[in-house]
Point group: D2
Chain length 354, copies 4
Amino acid sequence: MGLKAGVVGAAGFAGIELVRLLLRHPEFELTVVTSDAWAGTPVSAMYPAFAGVTDLSFCSNANANLAECDVVFLAVPHTAALAVAPGLLEQGVSVVDLSADFRLSDPDQYRKWYKTPHTAPELLKQRAFGLPELFAEDLKTLADRRKEGQAVLVGCAGCYPTATSLAAAPAIRAGLVDSEGVVVVDAVSGVTGAGKKATERTHFCFANENLEAYGVATHRHTPEISQILGLGERLVFTPHLAPLNRGLLSTVTMPLDPNAPAPSQEELDQIYEDFYRDSPLVHFAKGVQPKTGSVAGTDRAQVGAVVHQAAKMIVATGAIDNLGKGSAGQAVQCANIICGLDEACGLDLIACAI
Amino acid sequence: MGLKAGVVGAAGFAGIELVRLLLRHPEFELTVVTSDAWAGTPVSAMYPAFAGVTDLSFCSNANANLAECDVVFLAVPHTAALAVAPGLLEQGVSVVDLSADFRLSDPDQYRKWYKTPHTAPELLKQRAFGLPELFAEDLKTLADRRKEGQAVLVGCAGCYPTATSLAAAPAIRAGLVDSEGVVVVDAVSGVTGAGKKATERTHFCFANENLEAYGVATHRHTPEISQILGLGERLVFTPHLAPLNRGLLSTVTMPLDPNAPAPSQEELDQIYEDFYRDSPLVHFAKGVQPKTGSVAGTDRAQVGAVVHQAAKMIVATGAIDNLGKGSAGQAVQCANIICGLDEACGLDLIACAI
Amino acid sequence: MGLKAGVVGAAGFAGIELVRLLLRHPEFELTVVTSDAWAGTPVSAMYPAFAGVTDLSFCSNANANLAECDVVFLAVPHTAALAVAPGLLEQGVSVVDLSADFRLSDPDQYRKWYKTPHTAPELLKQRAFGLPELFAEDLKTLADRRKEGQAVLVGCAGCYPTATSLAAAPAIRAGLVDSEGVVVVDAVSGVTGAGKKATERTHFCFANENLEAYGVATHRHTPEISQILGLGERLVFTPHLAPLNRGLLSTVTMPLDPNAPAPSQEELDQIYEDFYRDSPLVHFAKGVQPKTGSVAGTDRAQVGAVVHQAAKMIVATGAIDNLGKGSAGQAVQCANIICGLDEACGLDLIACAI
Amino acid sequence: MGLKAGVVGAAGFAGIELVRLLLRHPEFELTVVTSDAWAGTPVSAMYPAFAGVTDLSFCSNANANLAECDVVFLAVPHTAALAVAPGLLEQGVSVVDLSADFRLSDPDQYRKWYKTPHTAPELLKQRAFGLPELFAEDLKTLADRRKEGQAVLVGCAGCYPTATSLAAAPAIRAGLVDSEGVVVVDAVSGVTGAGKKATERTHFCFANENLEAYGVATHRHTPEISQILGLGERLVFTPHLAPLNRGLLSTVTMPLDPNAPAPSQEELDQIYEDFYRDSPLVHFAKGVQPKTGSVAGTDRAQVGAVVHQAAKMIVATGAIDNLGKGSAGQAVQCANIICGLDEACGLDLIACAI
């Protein structure tokens, strides 16, 4: 328990999932959880899952002693992380940001999609992008820098980009995909993805027994997916909402390179198996479609891939828990790496099989 | 109540939904409901929603007096309709088939996808394809023939093809879509789509809180969608399962014709509005994404369409109740048309808003 | 279509369900739907289930021409009905109130449980209690008075009282129940019962995959149940919330009269069958437990009753749709009766069997 | 990892939950998982939540080397445990049985309720009843005997009896409850409680959006609840099914002793707080109703209690995960105790707060 951790914005969905993970983590000690709206309230009074588990209370951001933390997780809306991260880094506190503020490498893209200027563009050059299976080296570089005494910054990937990229990257990096073709991503998320705010969208009676697309052609995860996979404008991303709490399934349809022979299913299987062989938290399910239910409540991901010979496409699928691998779980995984721990440390949870 | 109707295979999900619709229909009198497995059982004993509503019992197919019906609905597995339809037609009974047996115009396609020869290819030439908004003329032709005393046959569209084609057809028929490009269809269905059989897939505890794709690159609705939209091999269709009873949402991503200027959103809206202006049961929701919850329990459909200017695509969405417009509702709509009734007769149900 | 109807508070859950029922009603013409918060908004913009169905828009209460209605339904919070009903009655408009304002016969009980004085106690003497199967005579009296030109007032029963009383009344009225013993009512409701307001309680992610009791020993339906069944203080009522949209199941455990021989199950069955023989919308399911799924979306109710010989109790169960027979459906049923129509007029909906 | 554990019947719902818990347990090593139906199948092929987690395969009971285990868990239907347990004990293997075979102390009660003779009545005298918070001494006695080298037997409590008794016992043991009065238990369970078998009851489309009671006056957990709480025939137990995977809420209405002054709410709170002060896995939620969502996926329980002064009753509520504290979690807790471990060892899971 040599490492002290804090969570800013702990009363939201990603924040409270961080609390759940960090309270059981063998190496991090959770010392401070902040929420201006709920300052003074015991965590267990707001989320009774913690009754009998912890006596922690939320404290205001002003009163939070974050400077004594080794790592602070920011589970706040975009722009709020921009406001907080620079100061923490200056105080020597490493930051793992779950917001969108440090995801896009290009501050102009940030301004375009988030309608506000990026106020710390110099940090974008130093930060690592938090999606360990695809950007392992960047995170290891941070670990080295942190070992040397520097405070470091991780901008964690979003939920849709994580599931989508885990599904698509092995094929794209293997050069199977047409570099001129458009990639189509249709993804479905559970309602925790819509956040804690009680709205018509999150009302049980409107979300239950309903399916719908939203943010068609306009969702802010579009440039992030494009950045990870190097797609430029060749991307259509359509998110959907379905009636479950946790779970995100991304189905990615990618045109095969027309100038190369199409791979056989066996060849594709091999490529995916090789890609994830050493990843403790991502499992390629050969011949099996991934299920979100098999990873709910965990930081695990499952990936599937099928060659569609008739249409000359690959259909790859990725299943995650949007609050797990898609958010808090991945943040802890990143924190593990920058702190020199095993990446799966404290993330050994197994989904309820039923 | 001049028209007598029968339902073969009434104990299954599509069958019992037909019973629900026909019992309230102002022009059809439901006189016979068959189920070999449940012969002798009152409908209300099996489905207590009918307790106090009807005294009908299931009878065996052997004992069913179908010859006295004006129209018989076949809610049976594929091949079973092939076995029954010819005899009914010979007896002068018009047939509305909900199975896959009379959907594909080409018997070779049937053999390829259903792994069994089509035993009544001559009927394929006479039948109309049951998707009234797209094949109105064919159904009207049947109405004329029926008026002249002939028994006629409708092969109703499947659930995924219905939602997909209602979403895609206005753009494709308007010539907006690249005739060389691949159309990507990702569709999500509720669990009634998996049928009444109790299996691991339909077990509450496996279906609930889970999302998954299935039948990737192999689902039998692929050739049907392709036939309706004239896509040949240029189609990737991936169905998914989500935890709700009724509802099917199809998201169709179509490449714009590269040789023509991309339409504006306003132009696309106009095309879709015009297309469905006179359709009482399909509503184009300008600027709004369709919700399956808004059509559940009804024969209605909602359609949306967005121009994705960056990727030069159209993203069209279609929402139906897979047992309504996707099955029993559409069958009744087809029966209305061939019997010379208003197409929406008896189909005035309004979805529960919540 | 000789009768004009209006709905005050039409944007809430009970209100919009009234709209759904009245739009299809063969005798009522829905002419005005009010909502101060949504004045000017088309009904279909807020509830897309009505897209393509109606062009009605919500109007403010101030602008609503309610005086031209034959019947106005009040789907408003308690105290709001007290403010509106007297004026409508004076204008000659009959009122069917779905709020709690005219349920309790004793204004002191109202003051005690609702913490506010009853401002129209004289109306309590004239109103009928809206639970037709148990208070048919009172409603018929209103029908007579209305026929003579008077405007009349119905105070409709609440959802829990309806399901509970339909289950319990046959046994109690038959004198089977110990007049000294305590009746225990445990009831479970779907989330529409918690209303349209987006709160933590109604957030999908808190309501889903959860069961809880609420309002233990303090729920305001307690005095109403007690009034209907004549229980005085001999009642424990505990409501619960479960993750479904529509449905309310009440389980009522009643001590048998110790001074009489316990009835056999057959005798109890006979009593219940006789009780509901002529009720078109309530079905006693002999030997079968009622299911809320079998009445969802309808004004129907199902009732079951079992003699527990070992403990000398009767366990009676009642299943309704809390928005149907528990609210809007029952209100329409009451309106039918006071207008001299068949009580089930326009209420012939059949629940989706699946 | 000094202790070897086996699970017989590991492919069922309780069995696979044991696998999930034991794979992460710091002191037990799971060496054998049996299933005759699935012998040879990898656990992860059947339950993909274990993909990438374990390479264990199910083996047949005949081939299972259970003799080398320190503890074997029996997750089998009743009578199957009777067939297996004696042999294991003779081989020196301690047995934790999750079935009903060793719950009832009186073999005549077993014969009466399970319609089959109890074939090992002598074991009933030696076994401890597995509900640690209420029968701690019995389990500690087994721990002592096991320490001395004896194989011991635990008959774990059922799910409904666990939630019910945790809610009721503090009040009953404190002497607050009328020893002549009838206790009414209405409990609601998620669908995992109905088991893995695919039936109409467990079909998603029948269980979803539905509430119903079942087994009224006849459920086999009745004598078990009565035995734990000493109620004799003074018990009415009515179980219900609701649409969620995991969770069981029991609401227990108990008459206060008429010969003693009614306790105040504060006095009742104190009694419950004192009762569970030293129980790491049961939390009394003063002034708050327990939620099943707050304990799902864990071995935790939450309890609430309210004095109903008007009716002179106590309404106590208990929330558990039926597969956790109601089954596999409690079995591991019992195994911990008989093996001399901390009772909560390996059971530190925290429910997803959302």
